[in-house]
């Protein structure tokens, strides 16, 4: 299944947001996620099924003013 991860196309195995994050190296990271512009809390990632073409955003702490 192809999804967009932070703007880049990714061919993912598995079906859920948690599967994608684990496969892409985010295991244990302090991140927040959104799918198609909607926030998905960490507690719901396991049960959040992705579908073809979903836009996934993975954000982390960054410098800011």
């Amino acid at each position: 299944m192809k999804v967009q991860l932070n703007g880049d196309p990714v061919d993912m195995q598995g079906t859920t947001l948690a599967d994608l994050l684990e496969a892409e190296g985010f295991g244990g990271a302090r991140i927040a996620t959104a799918v198609n512009g909607e926030f998905v809390p960490a507690s719901l990632r396991d049960g959040h099924a992705l579908t073809e073409g979903d836009r996934v955003e993975v954000l982390a702490p960054m410098q800011g003013g």
Partner: protein, 257 residues
């Protein structure tokens, strides 16, 4: 100093974490200034280099209050979603709410700001709205649930200082019980001192420190100015007057004509 949603800060210095030459210099700026709040943001993370994780560790080690922002957001939805994500990542109800309305000045979209502030306040966020000195907007923000206001001194990153002293003084007088923070536009410590002399509770700045030749020294200079301005305000400054008034007593002066 007034409390910020029940939190009493050690000082009125809120310092940004962006644009420093290196993480070590950023940490040094916080150490030397003892700034009590660090503003932070959220950006896309790569699973390969995981840069955000290193930054998170650095921020934790600073041992300061963390104020995440919604910088770069131009719509209510974008700002609200960013706030949700920031709350989870940084584990705080505090949010520096920015809804930008104009690109050249980065002036807040005050209509979107009030709407987003209402949504987030209703959800239990403690909102620090980046606003203008407009009293009507300020009143709307308070009605929306904000208990802190952060008017700009001048456009973000401009270093122009306090562009509208009259408006800021009016704001201080109009909302005597509300914590007020000058957010953005400061370039020099003297401008920070002036803000504190007006009775503001804190200043928030980033570029003036991060882009200085010696950021850590500049941070320390700002800390001194903020402290001096706060002491001066507490000491009840004299009223300016148009005519001279001799400071040396004239009684007992010799007649030497």
């Amino acid at each position: 100093m007034r409390d910020f949603y029940g939190t009493r800060l050690a000082n009125g210095f809120m310092l940004g974490t962006a644009q420093y030459p290196s993480p070590a210099i950023l940490a040094d700026a916080f150490r030397r200034s003892a700034a009590s709040v660090a503003t932070v943001s959220l950006r896309r993370e790569s699973g390969r280099d995981r840069q955000g994780q290193d930054f998170w560790q650095l921020i934790r080690d600073l041992d300061v209050h963390i104020l995440p922002n919604t910088a770069g957001c131009h719509s209510v939805k974008e700002a609200v979603t960013t706030a949700h994500m920031a709350r989870e990542v940084f584990d705080t109800k505090w949010i520096k709410l920015e809804v930008i309305g104009e690109e050249d000045t980065l002036q807040p979209d005050v209509f979107g700001l009030v709407e987003a502030a209402r949504i987030l306040s209703d959800e239990g966020f403690q909102v620090f709205p980046y606003t203008t000195e407009d009293l009507v907007v300020a009143d709307r923000l308070l009605q929306a649930g904000c208990e802190v206001l952060m008017p700009w001194g001048a456009p973000i990153g401009s270093g122009l200082g306090l562009n509208n002293i009259f408006g800021l003084r009016a704001m201080r007088a109009h909302f005597p019980d509300i914590p007020l923070v000058i957010d953005a536009g400061l370039g020099l410590p003297s401008q920070a001192a002036a803000a504190m002399e007006l009775g503001f509770d804190a200043v928030l700045l980033n570029t003036a420190v991060a882009r200085a030749g010696d950021p850590a020294a500049m941070a320390e200079a700002f800390a001194g100015a903020i402290r001096a301005g706060q002491q001066a305000h507490a000491a009840d400054p004299m009223e300016p007057r148009d005519m001279a008034a001799p400071s040396t007593p004239v009684i007992g002066k010799a007649f030497l004509e």
